[in-house]
């Protein structure tokens, strides 16, 4: 026997025909190889390259923000995006809604045995592209594999950290009677994109998800009006639910005007067809802002000057109301309550 230790040939991960198996979550060589060839390669940054179980970075003095979000959307791929970019955008937005600058992301994957590696690669590449576009790197992560039938392809949890610039104090409990309520663009796009795919509905134009990272829009808004009172992204439960959350957190009411709420005609048509109300349909690239009435014009101008806020509009105002009702003047001329979402309108939307 010779004493030479040979470098064994390592067959590259088969991203064309391969599938996730239990070894990919075992902590052994197969997992290390998947991490190397897929995650490290795609996310490619100095923190991951150190191969530690954690990422170390210097913190800015001031207030940090942390937020976490799990993603279970079905189907995994949809017009305008996929679970990968969605998981990056969703968490960046949650951080940004504090008026914060997002810095880093962490990502946890739960993979189902048998999931095609080609799909996994597509998802991870999409995450990496979204993180790169946003300038917010994925600096640490984790992978687990569950037996077939115990998951649904892939679930992704992302956690984001960021910091709040000095002088900014944005919180859901700061809406005051008289404040203006703004939305950054058309509502319902994400939910309808997913739903029309699930129901196999095709319309003359494809409805695309609006999934996007909004931190740059937020930065522009904060620069224009540092005293913004509230920001929130109307994801599950849609605009209606977000307004109810803010009204109840701030202890006030709201009156919005149906005619001012931007909805794409094809989204309105699809909602009509599916029996949905666009007010309750999820968004992944829109935000609601509340500010003092005197700041409204300036804030709206700053939003409209940004590509992600082109269709922004002032949709109503905060009122004094001990019952915290969100009311709406209908385009028809009457007034009604816009209530919390009841039950589940669209399961597994994000």
């Amino acid at each position: 026997m010779s004493g030479v230790v040979r470098d064994g040939y390592v067959r590259p991960v088969d991203f064309k025909h391969g599938r996730v198996d239990m070894t990919h979550g075992s902590g052994g060589r197969a997992m290390a190889q998947l991490v190397d060839e897929l995650f490290l390669h795609a996310f490619d940054n100095e923190w991951l390259a150190q191969r530690n179980d954690q990422a170390r970075f210097t913190v800015t003095a001031g207030r940090m923000v942390v937020s976490t979000d799990s993603h279970v959307v079905s189907p995994l791929f949809f017009p305008g995006g996929d679970i990968g970019c969605l998981s990056v955008h969703g968490t960046i937005n949650d951080v940004a809604m504090a008026g914060a600058v997002p810095l880093h992301l962490a990502a946890g994957f739960i993979l189902e045995e048998g999931f095609p590696l080609a799909d996994l690669k597509r998802i991870v590449d999409s995450m990496a592209a979204a993180a790169k576009d946003a300038g917010v790197p994925v600096v640490t992560g984790d992978t687990k594999v569950v037996e077939q039938g115990k998951g649904d392809g892939v679930f992704i949890t992302t956690t984001g950290v960021g910091f709040v610039p000095a002088g900014v104090d944005i919180s859901g409990d700061r809406a005051r009677p008289g404040d203006a309520i703004l939305v950054s663009g058309t509502i319902g796009d994400h939910g309808v994109a997913i739903m029309s795919l699930r129901e196999n509905l095709t319309f003359e134009t494809t409805i695309r998800s609006d999934t996007a990272a909004l931190h740059r829009l937020v930065a522009a808004m904060v620069a224009a009006v540092p005293g913004i009172h509230c920001l929130r992204d109307p994801t599950r439960g849609g605009l209606a639910t977000t307004l109810n959350e803010l009204a109840s957190q701030s202890g006030c009411g709201m009156v919005i005007d149906e005619r001012r709420i931007p909805v794409q005609p094809q989204v309105a048509a699809a909602c009509e067809f599916l029996g949905l109300d666009p007010l309750y349909v999820a968004n992944e690239g829109k935000l609601v802002a509340i500010c003092a009435p005197d700041d409204a014009k300036r804030l709206l101008a700053s939003m409209r000057a940004h590509p992600q806020g082109r269709d922004a509009a002032i949709i109503g105002e905060v009122t004094r109301d001990p019952h915290h009702f969100v009311q709406m003047d209908t385009s028809f001329g009457g007034r009604r309550v816009v209530d919390w979402l009841t039950g589940e309108q669209l399961p597994r939307i994000c």
């Binding site: 309105a268 101008a301 002032i314 109301d321 209908t330 009457g334 007034r335 009604r336 309550v337």
Partner: protein
């Protein structure tokens, strides 16, 4: 949006509102029952009451398919779903309807029953095809609108020998419910429910036509105006009813001419007649046993009748004592007359069926209108400035 926006136009609504206000006489009131949950929903969602003069009152009728389903029938469905290997397909609305002992289909599903929400009966047929080894039952509910698709599904299953498919039939008939209300003590003798006219069903009438209502107009001297489910349809129908009442007429008029004819849809009617026959009697929630008010599957298609296949026996279960759904469905009470409305009975935790479906009178009022009950001050119009 084409064919939609035209029927939701605010300017036209105001023109109609002015006409109604002009023609409605101050000396009398106009008590109009909208039979269908679809109308109830439109009235609440568009805030239509705000546009009506105070002497025009809208009374919610029993035309909400989920609301009139008696507890015993939901119990039957839950028991069916508990059979090993069986797949129960249902419209989403029935999932949350409270059954006896605090049960519901939603809870049965969470506990492991294979209950699937479908958009149509055709989906249930597809599920049966895809799962040949499993019994698939469609929980069929609804008025004449949903009956023809159920008939088609049974005919399809029969033609293709789909032996694992069957239907738990709970289809009910609109004219019997209207007759029941008009015959009720409150309307006929006591006069506690003033009822001057009806807004007739939209989608139901596309199937059965306007002719079946002629009897009510003549026999009970109540005008009927068939109206579409868009808010302008409802406004127009109200105006037409006010005019009939002013002129002392009691006729069937059709506002929904773009979809409803006098005879209805002959093909749909013959499909229904082929597959279904009248039940001798059927229990309605709130209205009780009504003779010849529902359909069952004919002998010829018995193989697809879940009631015979699984030996389902019906047992009547009384409503929760505090629940006023029965009186609300008959138009005797308003949602706010019920002690549990908005307190222990909410859309999240419904006690009665009227709080479940968006077409239910209680759910519609809770979701869209309840701010009016507490007299919330109407704060000024939203900010009007834009950045232009």
């Amino acid at each position: 949006m084409k064919y939609i926006d035209e029927f939701r136009d605010g300017d036209l609504a105001r023109t109609l509102a002015r006409a109604i206000a002009r023609e409605a006489r101050n000396a009398r009131s106009y008590n109009l029952m909208e039979f269908c949950g679809g109308h109830t929903h439109a009235i609440s969602r568009y805030g239509l009451k705000d546009l009506l003069p105070s002497n025009v009152n809208m009374i919610h009728g029993p035309g909400c398919p989920v609301c009139v389903l008696p507890i015993g029938r939901i119990d039957n469905a839950i028991d069916l779903a508990a059979r090993p290997g069986l797949v129960l397909c249902t419209y989403a609305d029935t999932m949350r309807v409270p059954a006896s002992k605090g049960r519901s289909l939603m809870k049965a599903k969470a506990a492991g029953a294979d209950i699937r929400m479908v958009y149509s009966c055709a989906d249930a047929v597809r599920i049966a095809r895809e799962n040949p080894g499993r019994d698939v039952v469609f929980f069929a509910i609804g008025f004449e609108t949903t009956t023809p698709p159920t008939a088609v599904a049974i005919l399809e299953a029969a033609a293709s020998g789909l032996a694992n498919f069957s239907v738990f039939c709970n289809h009910v008939l609109t004219p019997s419910a209207i007759a029941n209300i008009l015959e009720s003590k409150e309307v006929r003798e006591l006069g506690t429910v003033p009822l001057d006219g009806f807004i007739g069903p939209a989608h139901v009438s596309t199937v059965i036509g306007s002719a079946p209502y002629e009897y009510f107009a003549e026999e009970y001297e109540k005008p009927v105006v068939i109206a579409g489910f868009e808010p302008l349809d409802v406004m127009q129908a109200i105006l037409m009813l006010v005019r009939q009442l002013n002129e002392g007429r009691a006729e069937v008029e059709n506002e929904f001419t773009r979809a409803v004819t006098r005879e209805g849809n002959g093909k749909a009617k013959s499909l229904v007649a082929e597959v279904f026959e009248l039940r001798r009697t059927f229990e309605w929630r709130g209205l009780g046993e009504i003779p010849y008010s529902a359909l069952r599957i004919r002998e010829k298609y018995r193989a697809f009748d879940a009631e015979t296949r699984y030996g389902i026996t019906y047992r009547s279960v009384p409503d929760n004592k505090a629940c006023e759904c029965g009186a609300i469905l008959r138009g005797v009470k308003k949602p706010t007359d019920c002690k549990v409305f908005g307190t222990v009975c909410t859309p999240e935790n419904p006690i009665g069926s009227c709080m479940v479906s968006s077409e239910g009178a209680c759910a519609a009022h809770y979701t869209y209108g309840r701010f009016k009950d507490v007299g919330v001050e109407a704060v000024g119009a939203p900010a009007t400035e834009t950045a232009q």
